[in-house]
Amino acid sequence: MSKSALIAEGSEWTFAALEAYEAEIARIASGKYRLDTYPNQIEIISANQMMDAYSSVGMPVGYHHWSFGKQFLSTEQRYRKGHIGLAYELVINSNPCIAYLMEENTLTLQALVIAHACFGHNSFFKGNYLFRTWTDASAIVNYILFAKGYISECEERYGVDNVEALLDSCHALMNLGVDRFRRPRPISADEEKKRQHEREDYLQQQVNDLWRTIPKRETEPEEKWPRFPAEPQENLLYFFEKNAPLLEPWEREIVRIVRKIAQYFYPQRQTKIMNEGWATFWHYTLMNDLYDEGLITEGAILEFLQSHSNVIYQPEFDSPYFSGINPYTLGYAMFSDIRRICEDPSEEDRQFLPEIAGSDWLDTVHHAMENYKDESFILQFLSPRVIRKLKLFSILDDDKEDAIRVTAIHDDDGYQRVREELADQYNLSKQEPDIQVWEVALRGDRSLTLRHTQHDRIPLDEDDAKEVIKHVHRLWQFDVHLECMQDNELTQSFVCDDEKVRVEKKDKKKTDKTG
């Protein structure tokens, strides 16, 4: 290896070295591996700024809220005490793609981070179908700027406390503020601003229409009343934005802002494994290519390998450090294994994954990255070899049994079951309670009924539910009922009227008697 071939020397990074690395990595990434990315915008920040970025959940600018302050304080505290290290980077799904790099990183780490964030995550944001359909990378920064401006204007006009209370309520329902099936409309800050005024008037008018019919109710026969909403609604925030009877126009706008931001982050929540796996797979591949071409030293590649193995370290389930499956580990193991199955398939692979065994690996990983989310990715591509490598096993905790049962391990019998259950573990609609707007009593007390469809008798966390239903009441401002249904039978109900919450539990016998 001739010394002159090196991109840069020493372990301290310089701006010139970063540029040189970016150029080399870009050459390999787009030329050899067809990674298609948004333009990169690399920003060098200090540890303090990284903590700032953490607490605004990775948005480059954010509106003000105490919960971000809480996040910041807790990060700061844990960082100072040495409980956590800060991430080397943070990347934002925007166009240009903004990547924050910590100034503390060594040159090798910066190279790793550039490969990981600026080419791995970046190409994922641009290529994956969820991001393509659900988020508009070129508009997000402007939209968040608009949101920040709008919210601080509201704070001036209507008081910080009012806005804060509203945001609390919206945040509580944020996970239920996404459209799971419909394609959302792209957002643009200019358009939002322009149309916001019209919309305020229009929305209010629509709401008024809905409730204007009320005085007539005495004269109308009951059957003629259409059910409202006609179909159950999955997007609670959308429903409140459009239909809550007493919200002010500005309150509707804030509900909308939180909903839009929730929607923007929704794909990220669905692709943790894939996104991190993809980025990790590429930083590994790209760094090794740099080394093979003699562009970085042996020392650098060793330093890189050490960081890389830290990143993909998976504590076992009985380790004190265990906190769930490490998305980097699982994702990286799967993408690497896809490559192996393509290049060097075994008999087992041909049996389990016949579609990809022996195919072109680059085509296959691109296809996987573009067309799957965590759940379907695992269901489709988790190979027996990865299950064996991570020694995955599946357990069943049934409250009707006195012990936890091991239902599958890494053997011929178990592969399929482990694969399915692991996929389920990343299915958001199974991991988060399914709560929809069921009915509004247009004729009666205007109360709102939400319905929780239980699966496998898994109940809601009661303490939290009691709090959240108050937030729902805050938005709806009339009585709110929440019914938990298991196989069309009511198991538990929550009622919230003017800030008081009653919980009724119905065990099997009782419902039998009454029904």
Binding site: H65, F72, P96, A172, I395, L396, L460
Partner: protein, 421 residues
């Protein structure tokens, strides 16, 4: 491929500052309790720093609808060692790990949310809503309430304030600016003239140039050396100086009956008071008076750390205070405050004298007089005597009893609580 590297390190260090303040505001009740707790636990030399605050996690949680425990829950875990299909595992007791799904992620770990208040924030909380009572604007001489300071330059003013350097600098700049074009033209013409020097063929042109040069020279001379426009005057602005001035007398008993513990409590009280004044009333004077049988005015260092001791004559301190007031702090231009700390024991004939001194001489002069009696038993002589101070001074005289360290902060707050007007 287009890309950009930006160095952001120099900007926006405190993006989260507002959010942090919002957080502190929202949980001020919790934080205040924790702060009060911290103040009473700290050693007296250690008041002036930040504090670690913890808040019960459930009070600051952000609830969402999530799945609870129960039902049939599947889970896939890594790192199997000995299990085979069909094995039964005893449920782990308590809340720890196990099959809680997401439930265990948020519930795990600390029950308290812990974070650090910095020194500024800490003291803000300590002294929140406190004030010096009855602070009034004392009439000072007019000349004292304004200070004349230089404030840049203006275009108009009186000749005495003319700033020659600035004016000439401006004039020169103007001359250069206005004459630049003319000079350039003259230079070009002069060069041309030189190039055709002595050539009879260009006689006409030469004459033409000479005329033109003359005309330009005249124009140049017409640019005034100093124009009205150039004149700059020193600007003097009147800056108001604070017109409420206050002095705090700290009177501490260091007699032999004051045990080390009691002295420690007294010092704690005065340290709080001193911090409070330093922080909120920058312009406040503090006079430290220490007494046993004889009173001395001492400096801060000696007040807090000296070990001198003796018998007890409380009136000596009051007399000294009266003397200092007379000499240096006339009550028509100063707000006078005093805080006295003692164990309440006094030379037995001296207490009535103290009361008389207070009622006749001192209380009419002061805005507020606070007496703190520190002992663990019953009220002592001085307390009973002070109890006889007439009602009409209720507004400017207060006394409280302290028996242990944890009383100090509540008593301090009580004495200096902001009264709603």
């Amino acid at each position: 491929m287009a890309f950009l590297i930006i160095d952001r390190r120099q900007q926006g260090k405190q993006k989260s500052a507002v959010n942090r303040q919002r957080f502190l505001k929202r949980f001020r009740k919790h934080i205040k309790d924790a702060v009060a707790d911290a103040v009473s636990k700290r050693s007296i030399t250690d008041m002036d720093r930040g504090e670690e605050i913890s808040i019960p996690r459930k009070d600051i949680s952000e609830p969402v609808f999530r799945q609870g425990r129960g039902g049939r829950q599947h889970r896939v875990l890594p790192g199997n060692k000995e299990f085979v299909k069909g094995d039964r595992i005893k449920r782990p007791s308590g809340g720890g790990g196990g099959a809680g799904g997401q439930a265990s992620n948020s519930g795990e770990g600390m029950d308290e949310f812990v974070f650090e208040l910095n020194q500024q924030e800490f003291l803000d909380f300590v002294f929140e809503d406190l004030e010096l009572p009855n602070l009034v604007r004392k009439q000072l001489k007019d000349t004292d309430s304004y200070k004349l300071v230089k404030g840049g330059y203006t275009r108009d003013g009186i000749p005495a304030r003319l700033n020659v350097v600035q004016s000439l600098r401006g004039a020169q700049a103007r001359r250069i600016a206005l004459g630049g074009a003319i000079r350039r033209d003259m230079k070009i013409l002069a060069e041309e003239l030189e190039s055709i020097e002595g050539d009879s063929e260009f006689e006409d042109r030469r004459r033409e140039i000479t005329v033109e040069l003359d005309r330009l020279r005249r124009r140049l001379n017409h640019i005034p050396f100093l124009d009205d426009f150039d004149l700059r005057y020193n600007n003097i602005i009147r800056q108001p100086t604070p017109t409420t001035s206050a002095v705090m007398f700290c009177l501490m008993d260091v007699s032999g009956s004051m045990t080390q513990d009691i002295k420690d409590l007294a010092k704690r009280f005065f340290i709080l008071l001193h911090l409070f004044l330093k922080r909120h009333y920058e312009k406040t004077d503090v006079v430290f008076i220490r007494h046993h049988t004889k009173a001395d005015e001492v400096d801060e260092e000696e007040f807090f750390y000296s070990r001198e001791t003796g018998g007890t004559v409380v009136s000596s301190a009051l007399e000294l205070m009266q003397q200092v007031v007379r000499e240096r702090y006339p009550s028509d231009s100063w707000n006078i405050y005093a805080a006295q700390a003692s164990d309440g024991e006094n030379w037995h004939d001296d207490s009535p004298r103290c009361r008389d001194l207070l009622v006749n001489d001192l209380l009419p002069l002061v805005q507020y007089y606070a007496y703190v009696e520190i002992n663990s038993g019953n009220e002592q002589e001085l307390w009973h005597t002070y109890d006889e101070i007439p009602e009409k001074f209720a507004d400017c005289f207060a006394m409280r009893k302290v028996s242990e360290a944890s009383d100090i902060f509540p008593v301090f707050r009580d004495l200096f609580e902001r009264k709603s007007k």
